[in-house]
Symmetry: C3
Subunit: 155 residues, 3 copies
């Protein structure tokens, strides 16, 4: 178990850093080729309803979103900052981990006080690949149905 | 020291998950039979005053609270989400750890923006038992005397 | 890498505890003699502009600030609470680590709801010394240019 905690912590930290600072174009590199990435309300998730705010089913779709978020969407600029809690390892095998991690994202807009953009949990399926540990699935389940403004950058 | 950090991290993550998602009825299982659980303002804690918002002195009292919180208290429904900082291990022995961990709890109510429900620190005495590591004492010391609405689920 | 994660976690936790609770006078003890500590806006940092909100270039300057913050500055009293995310280890050697860690500081004033005081990241250069791991440099880069009231205690 702890071995895996050691391996997912750097992946989580790298993911966070890329979204908060880095080149969003490299964000898809943290996923497998056929990865599934969803952003869904907790209400729908709990009710087992399929509707998601975002649903991407391949690395190519993630690249498409990264391009859209940085090159085509016209929006009020903002900074975002992820704060992660300690991961809960639900199950693990030699080359795969299923874990859940609470997250909080604070958005700061120019000349405004910081506010909560999204709060919820990641439900991850992380696998060992030739390039290291990667997300085979990341579900971002957010508590706050009401979002101040809109979500542009990935959660 | 680090050995203990490895053992309290899963307990912290499990505690958080149970309160944010799970069956509150299992929350007392993370404590010893004669555990002490308190929720107290930082002001009173620092002044060594005894008054607590909540004070439970056995596993049975925790079960009672879990029942009350889920079956008897009539309240505006809300989601809660714990975000924990890195634990500070104050002292440790072979089968016991004294540690402190900053926490932040975000509450989200239907059709409302998320807000801080409680912020403060856990002061824990965690012991090794036949069932694994358990809380012999958890003191929840909150900074914010003023609470928006009320605290229903455990901190 | 993980070895270093084990060594910076206690330093981060101790730093946080000292600022949120402890004797601020001991805060400089976590730095080397010639440490550099800065608090700077992300905007200036990204633009490579030199202006900082605070810039201290030695342990002596940190002691001076600790004295000022606790003995001379007249301000509305408040509690603060750091919540740290998982550290990203950028590079590491046997006796030095360069890492980045997202932080969130919640301030609580008497009779008021908690609010975000500062959100951003620490960029740290941590070195092994005879007294243990210490900060040779800590840059506090905050997202929120607009600060509710003012920053008195160190970030």
């Amino acid at each position: 178990m702890m071995k895996h905690l050691h391996e997912i912590t750097p992946l989580h930290a790298q993911y966070t850093h890329i979204l908060d600072h880095g080149d969003i174009a490299t964000w898809p590199d943290l996923f497998t080729e056929d990865a599934i990435y969803t952003v869904q309300s907790r209400e729908n998730y709990d009710a087992k309803l399929p509707l998601c705010l975002l649903r991407f089913e391949s690395s190519a779709m993630l690249h498409d979103r990264a391009y859209a978020a940085t090159q085509t969407i016209y929006h009020d600029p903002y900074y975002q900052r992820h704060i992660l809690s300690q991961p809960l390892i639900v199950s693990s095998q030699f080359d795969a981990v299923h874990c859940e991690t609470n997250y909080l994202i604070i958005r700061t807009r120019r000349d405004a006080l910081p506010q909560v953009l999204s709060v919820g949990r990641y439900i991850d399926h992380i696998v060992q690949t030739a390039q290291g540990w990667r997300f085979a699935q990341r579900q971002c389940i957010y508590d706050n149905d009401l979002i101040a403004n809109s979500i542009v950058l990935p959660i």
